[in-house]
């Protein structure tokens, strides 16, 4: 499919302490796919996501989103879910909605409100009064309520219960459209693998494998979780 939504060319990131967090990393991801970003702890998943979101700058190499170098224009079309929520603890949920509405042109307020209601999140409460899982729900709902072209989800289901996990995966599936790509970084492969079109394994900042999920099942008769355990056996 024409232009890749995300393209990395020989991307390197060095935090200045020996090992490279990303080491000559190259990949081109197509539009319209749900893609798993999978790797052991410290493999470079979050670094790749933060570089793409424009929160870090590469040490060397190039990075393009929708054919554009990282900047204001790419941030407009990228919706990023960080590992940890960044809202002020004193903010009410209601205010976070306003915040997103002010900030992003592509934010769909009705969608956000409907999802928060589905999840039973009290919008009048302050962020600090919410449990860890509920805070994560708020953040994810806001991120998924943007009509973005690239969603970067860093561990979106780590802190929530299995029922909410299902709801979140369904949210991802139902919000998704032919033009947008969702990149999900996670350790919980078994929970997400059925919704993945493609996946990549990364290790020590380098790409180990990039394939379609059903290709792997077809050719190896294995699920992604099983393959991960084999490739990264300790």
């Amino acid at each position: 499919m024409n232009l890749p939504i995300l393209e990395c060319r020989n991307l390197c990131k060095n935090y200045g302490q020996g090992d490279l967090a990303l080491n000559n990393f190259s990949i081109a991801l197509p539009k319209g796919k749900v893609i798993g970003l999978l790797g052991p702890n410290g493999s470079g998943k979050t670094t790749l996501i933060k570089l793409t979101a424009g929160l870090l700058t590469p040490t060397s190499g190039e990075l393009f989103v929708g054919g554009m170098p990282i900047g204001i224009e790419t941030k407009r079309i990228v919706s990023y879910l960080p590992e940890r929520t960044y809202f002020d603890p004193g903010m009410r949920v209601e205010e976070t909605i306003q915040y997103f509405e002010d900030f992003y042109e592509d934010f769909n307020t009705d969608k956000a409100r409907a999802m928060l209601e589905d999840l039973g999140v009290p919008t009048t409460k302050k962020m600090k009064a919410l449990s860890k899982g509920t805070k994560e729900k708020v953040q994810l709902v806001l991120v998924m309520s943007r009509e973005a072209q690239l969603y970067l989800l860093d561990e979106p289901i780590g802190g929530v219960d299995p029922a909410t996990r299902d709801y979140i995966l369904n949210t991802i599936v139902s919000n998704y459209n032919q033009e947008s790509t969702v990149l999900i970084s996670t350790h919980l492969i078994a929970d997400v693998e059925k919704v993945l079109d493609e996946f990549m394994f990364i290790h020590n900042g380098a790409l180990v494998m990039y394939n379609s999920a059903d290709n792997v099942r077809e050719e190896l008769g294995k699920g992604i979780d099983e393959l991960f355990r084999e490739v990264f056996r300790c």
Partner: protein, 139 residues
């Protein structure tokens, strides 16, 4: 309720199998309009692209027909549905025959057991109850 999948078999094949079974068993009847890709994706809790691919297979088999922008429909051709039903039956029989042979039953003995099983009304009820959940797990 999300569909159950075996992660070692391509999901699109399992989704196709599930929809095919639903057509053959009459859960969707001849000529009936099928739910959209998105609706199926939500019910199954899988990716719309995967459902799309499953539909591709069913269209190739002639079980599902796309009518322009009106959506997808179950075929109007009884023969196609009958053929799909026969194929599923053959697959089940092969599994059954394989396992019975492994257990040491001859073809005649196995056939006799099948008949006895059918004759017990209660067993048939059990079969009927178990049938839908069974398909998704196997494939």
């Amino acid at each position: 309720m999300a569909w159950a999948f075996d992660q070692t078999i391509p999901i699109y094949l399992q989704a196709a199998h599930r929809i095919r079974s639903d057509i053959v068993c009459g859960r969707y009847s001849k000529n009936e309009k099928l739910p959209s890709v998105r609706e199926f994706a939500l019910t199954a809790s899988i990716n719309p692209n995967t459902i799309q691919r499953a539909f591709g297979i069913l269209e190739e088999e002639g079980l599902v027909v796309t009518q322009g922008t009106a959506g997808r429909f179950v075929t109007a051709d009884n023969e196609v549905i009958t053929r799909a039903r026969d194929t599923i039956a053959q697959q089940l029989l092969q599994v059954f025959a394989g396992k019975m042979t492994e257990l040491g039953y001859s073809a005649e003995e196995a056939a006799g057991l099948v008949k006895t099983c059918y004759n017990k009304a209660s067993d048939i009820n059990i079969l009927k109850k178990e049938a839908p959940s069974d398909e998704s797990a196997d494939s």
